[in-house]
């Protein structure tokens, strides 16, 4: 069968949602072309507020990327504005002359911001807040310390004000009415909101009429009717929107305020449908996505030829997306004749609740400061339920009805299946539960992509998570309290490491792909962790990724606060000699810098410039001195006392063992820095009992201590065991280190790891079974073959020792 041609004009939230719904019902019925004035794919306009405030990057707003259009065979004509419809020939014509034929046409041209015909409105820097291009301009102009004036104290204006404030601007909101968000709030709620905004440093001018904008080319101030001028480097006008009916009107399609449609979303031309903010249905126009997505469902149903869905208006609910301000307003909250009001006010806590009742039915709800029961109220309102029975507890909320307290989990358990959880997308609890159980979903991301719940404005995220936890019950991730490794993933350290081991993953991109990382290349939290897990799990196989190393490890030196570096060569066990000292002294002289003895008994050469590092290393290497790894999450120095060779109290050769241990253990990468110490007798001059691994000489041999740390927190070691010989001490150290390397989380010191798993567990793994201990130690020695590479030598001997160390050079002035 030949496909019919469907054209969508308006590549925005409502139109593309209609196409998605249509593809789900009748994937092959149409050959689809989409015209969009904006040069992007379809993005989530709602999130522009979060982009402005810096809480989300632009990338997070993408709803349908170009690959999506390609995958579904949809022709995307982005950057093309449709300027005419020839209804007789069934063609649309774009501004650049492109002509396309249709059998069915869907208009979803959205709305345009209302601009005031005021003097100076044309000035650069006077703008509305509607699309990506405008947000980009705002971000260009928003420099810390500059001033912004937002005209309009409605939802959009306040979100703009908050975003610009977050960007460091001085922000004033100018509002014509005597209270903020007057269409959604009553006087007490509006006063609370004003207070919250002022606490955030946003100035609010009520009852102030804007008379014009002042400036040369660029706006410099906003003038008010009362004669005042407010200095402004940026003026955002957000006083309302009106349906974008221009195209429809010019083409002779019946419009009033919006394009008039019937319950099937059909216009007066039966081949032409319309959805979104451009339409007018039963006298209503729209400004929030929830009703638009319902319209999209209806229009898809008709375009698919099913013809049985009808669109009906439902009460609207509004939330303000300003972090830390909880505000919910729905239905008829104003009250008046024939209405009763239930009110609860707690100004101290900043909580205000008002429920409006008519004929024993909930007609409106206004919640400020505590919005926990919003969905319950919404359901009562939408369903027109009789609330006579609930009345005594109505204000206190759902949790009070049972006897089980009011934690979120209980509320979720008692929530009926029909309760709408995601208002934007009309997703009920039942639909989420069904998706979780049928499709075996485990994470929020999965629920989002399968149901779209919490994928639009995000304010229901907490509830979706609770439903997920409640539905999965005991199955909900093996360690429910454990947090994901970072914001780039839902997976915990344990899950990441297991995946690397079980799937034999050896590179960061491969691991990110397998575990469905949410960001293209991670962040400074996950990348070093992944790099560590890879190289410690697959020594010799996984390749180290220098760009995923923390800075000091990447440049093999410690950056100092002035941007120079300190170089710490290894002096085995803290033992050095005249030759090494001479080399260090020469370097100090050459670069005119001091020498510092470090806490770990090493000599540090500070104040070396980055470009000089390779030269300093070459000199040290020529004299057989290696990197001391004083900068790494790695085995650091082994601190040792002089021991029985010199000391009159000494019972064991701590210096000899210290040197031997350092020679065997240097180069090993560990979850966090790993310090060792060897003392010759219990007087413990090497302070071995605050080291990650401490060895203390006694008459009969050595005591082995683990899990000490001395920093912000001081923790003395736990005694692991006593051994008789040096070899045994070394084998136990290797086994312990390997266990920690394999099971400690990245950035978890050995002390924290031991507190997490418990000393009995560590003893069991290392002491109970000699063969198991040897196996651990074997794995460590195997890894050491690949780890004991001196990074300095590597660099100094390479053919481009300067690469990345020298600064870039300006080659020439280009034209």
């Amino acid at each position: 069968m030949k496909k019919e041609k469907l054209i969508l004009v308006g590549n925005g939230m409502a139109g593309v949602r209609a196409i998605e719904e249509l593809l789900a019902l009748a994937p092959d019925k149409y050959e689809i072309t989409v015209f969009g004035e904006e040069p992007h794919g379809n993005y989530n306009r709602i999130l522009l507020s979060h982009v402005l405030s810096g809480e989300k990057p632009f990338a997070d707003t993408v709803l349908n990327d170009r690959a999506w259009y390609e995958k579904h065979g949809i022709r995307l004509e982005s950057g093309r504005k449709v300027v005419a419809i020839n209804r007789a020939r069934r063609q649309v014509i774009a501004a650049d002359g492109t002509i396309a034929d249709y059998d069915k046409l869907l208009l979803a041209t959205g709305a345009r911001p209302t601009m005031m015909p005021l003097p100076g409105s044309h000035l650069f820097g006077v703008m509305s807040f509607r699309n990506i291009a405008e947000v980009e301009t705002m971000l260009d102009l928003a420099r810390p310390g500059r001033r912004a004036v937002v005209v309009g104290g409605g939802l959009l204006g306040l979100e703009a004000a908050y975003g610009l404030k977050q960007r460091g601007m001085q922000v004033t909101v100018v509002h014509l009415m005597d209270k903020l968000m007057e269409r959604q709030l009553d006087a007490p709620a509006a006063a609370l909101l004003k207070r919250s905004l002022e606490e955030r440093g946003i100035a609010v001018e009520l009852g102030a009429e804007t008379q014009g904008f002042v400036g040369g080319k660029q706006v410099e101030a906003v003038r008010l009717r009362d004669g005042r001028t407010l200095p402004a480097d940026l003026a955002v006008v957000a006083i309302g929107i009106r349906p974008n009916v221009e195209l429809a009107q010019q083409s002779g399609i019946h419009c009033q305020r919006g394009i008039v449609v019937n319950g099937s979303m059909q216009t007066y031309d039966p081949r032409i449908y319309a959805v979104g903010e451009c339409v007018e249905h039963a006298g209503n126009t729209y400004g929030l996505v929830a009703p638009l997505f319902k319209q999209a469902k209806v229009v898809a149903n008709h375009l698919a030829g099913l013809g049985h869905a009808r669109y009906e208006d439902q009460p609207l609910a509004t939330k303000l997306k300003i972090t830390g301000i909880d505000l919910y307003s729905a239905g008829h909250f104003g009250g008046g004749d024939g209405y009763e009001e239930l009110v609860m006010e707690d100004p101290g806590r900043g909580v205000y609740k008002k429920l409006v009742i008519r004929d024993n039915r909930l007609a409106g709800a206004l919640l400020y400061g505590d919005t926990t029961n919003e969905t319950w109220y919404y359901d009562l309102m939408r369903d027109g339920s009789d609330i006579s029975e609930l009345r005594p507890n109505l204000l206190h909320g759902h949790g009070h009805l049972g006897d089980a307290g009011h934690s979120g989990a209980v509320a979720v358990a008692s929530m009926p299946d029909e309760t709408e959880v995601c208002g934007c997308n009309g997703i009920t609890k039942g639909m989420i539960v069904k998706a979780i159980t049928d499709k075996g979903l485990f994470t929020l991301e999965e629920v989002r992509s399968h149901t779209k719940a919490s994928a639009s404005c995000g304010s229901c995220t907490g509830k979706v998570e609770q439903i997920l936890a409640f539905t999965l019950g005991g199955d909900y991730s093996p360690a429910p309290q454990e947090k994901p490794l970072c914001g780039c993933t839902e997976h915990t350290h344990a899950e990441v490491r297991n995946a690397i081991r079980e799937q034999h993953l050896t590179t960061i991109p491969e691991t990110m792909r397998f575990l469905e990382w949410k960001t293209p290349d991670g962040c400074p939290k996950c990348r070093p962790a992944l790099n560590y897990y890879l190289i410690s799990t697959w020594p010799g196989e996984a390749k180290d990724d220098p760009q995923s190393r923390v800075h000091n490890e990447r440049v093999h030196a410690n950056i100092q606060n002035d941007g120079s570096y300190s170089v710490v060569p290894r002096t085995w066990g803290g033992l050095t000699n005249a030759k090494e000292l001479r080399v260090i002294a020469d370097l100090a002289e050459k670069y005119n810098v001091p020498v510092k003895v470090t806490g770990g008994q090493r000599l540090a050469i500070p104040f070396i410039k980055k470009e000089d590092l390779p030269k300093v290393w070459a000199t040290l290497n020529d004299n057989d001195m290696l990197s001391g790894f004083a900068y790494g999450k790695a085995v650091r120095s082994v601190k040792s006392c002089v021991g029985k060779g010199l000391c009159r109290f000494g019972t064991q050769d701590s210096l000899g063992l210290g040197v031997a241990v350092e020679k065997k253990f240097w180069g090993a990468w560990t979850p966090h820095k790993f310090k060792m110490g060897v003392s010759g007798c219990p007087r413990n001059c090497a302070e071995a009992t605050i080291k990650d691994f401490g060895i203390v000489g006694v008459d009969s041999g050595w005591e082995l201590h683990v899990g000490g740390t001395c920093g912000v927190r001081v923790r003395a070691t736990d005694l692991l065991c006593k051994v008789a010989t040096d070899d045994e001490a070394i084998e136990h150290a290797a086994a312990f280190l390997q266990l920690y390397r394999e099971e400690g989380w990245y950035l978890e010191r050995s002390s924290a790891w031991i507190e997490r798993v418990g000393m009995p567990y560590v003893k069991k793994r290392i002491l109970d079974d000699g063969a198991a201990r040897q196996a651990l130690a074997e794995r460590f020695w195997h890894a050491q073959q690949f780890a004991q590479v001196d990074p300095w030598q590597d660099r100094a001997k390479s053919d481009r020792p300067d690469y990345e160390y020298a600064a870039l050079e300006v080659v020439e002035a280009a034209a």
């Binding site: 405030s53 810096g54 809480e55 990057p57 990338a59 971000l139 260009d140 928003a142 420099r143 810390p144 310390g145 500059r146 977050q166 960007r167 460091g168 960001t519 293209p520 290349d521 991670g522 962040c523 400074p524 990348r527 220098p546 760009q547 995923s548 923390v550 800075h551 000091n552 440049v555 950056i559 606060n561 941007g563 980055k610 990345e804 600064a807 870039l808 050079e809 300006v810 080659v811 020439e812 002035a813 280009a814 034209a815």
Partner: protein, 127 residues
Amino acid sequence: MTTIRNEMQWIDAGPLEAIPSPGARRLPSAHGDIAVVRTGSGAVYAIDDRCPHKGGPLSQGMVFGERVQCPLHGLVIDLPTGFAVGPDTGAVSTYPVRVADGRILVGLLPQTASAACGGGCACAQAA
């Protein structure tokens, strides 16, 4: 007809491969040090090489997404805008970048550098 003057001066910062992707390098210039940053997706940005917190060298930071993290105390700069990512505040100047024939060109305007603007502007106060 009006003629439009363009005072932008483009300096050649060398071949694209001189910067690892993702990675960054320091570029000394008449306007002070500039951090030239190349992201994993291949975009190149140029920003002042001075962290708004305590002047850390941003060219030495870890690059991820469209961001770079200061090596000293971890402040994160959004490369397209030059702003610190919340909750931190502050900003650095950004410079236009072009890549032509595999070479990186960085555009300098006399007024973009705080050294040249005399330090009286909001950007200098923020730093």
